[in-house]
């Protein structure tokens, strides 16, 4: 079953504007990760935020995490045409031994208009 739900499902903005995507989840987590997927390709890891962190930055990316609301947001500042892709949040909630794997949402399809 899918834990994370991204919002909006699709987003189209002009180049140079900021893009904000949201993710909500249902159960307690150890960490939350954001990934990017270009059409027809594998996913690329962007950023990981742990459950005891509230905000994290990486270049033009800013991620926030609110565990009380079970939500996260990804902000891409000064967007570029090359940022056009689908963005997924994924949660890690380990219940025991082993790798368990991440649970992914359905993603936000971001289109940057040049």
């Amino acid at each position: 079953s899918q834990q994370g739900e991204e919002d909006p499902q699709a987003l189209s903005i002009q180049e140079g504007e900021n893009a904000t995507m949201n993710c909500s989840y249902k159960t307690s987590i150890n960490n939350l990760q954001w990934y990017r997927q270009n059409s027809g390709r594998g996913l690329v890891h962007l950023i990981l935020i742990r459950s005891n962190e509230r905000e994290k930055h990486s270049g033009r990316l800013r991620v926030t995490l609110d565990t009380s609301k079970k939500s996260s947001s990804l902000l891409i500042t000064a967007s570029r045409a090359a940022d056009t892709a689908s963005y997924f949040c994924a949660t890690a909630a380990y219940s025991g031994g082993g790798a368990d794997g991440l649970t992914f949402g359905k993603g936000t399809h971001l289109i940057i208009q040049p």
Binding site: Q2, G4, N30, N31, Q33, Y35, G40, R41, G42, L43, V44, H45, L48, F88, A90, A92, Y94, G98, A99, D100, G101, L102, T103, F104, G105, K106, G107
Partner: protein
Amino acid sequence: SQTIHQWPATLVQPVGSPLSLECTVEGTSNPNLYWYRQAAGRGLQLLFYSVGIGQISSEVPQNLSASRPQDRQFILSSKKLLLSDSGFYLCAWSSLRDSPLHFGNGTRLTVT
């Protein structure tokens, strides 16, 4: 540096035929390995994961199976494909339990 190879990139198979998708990782030892499936317009569904040779955990009961014959090799198989097996299959690895996943470029499987 670590790399992950997944092949083939695309595959068209008739219903009832067998399937074998292979994934190998280079540059690391004892990785955690994963198979995900992505249906059109949907998120990723975890199919199998492995923490070591011969150790396979299945997340979704289905027509597929996985094997890990070597430390850095992960194989996804089916004896008889169904139409519903069509999708985009992604192999991934991680070094630690909560570390980021590194994905291959995927296999687009179409069952006709």
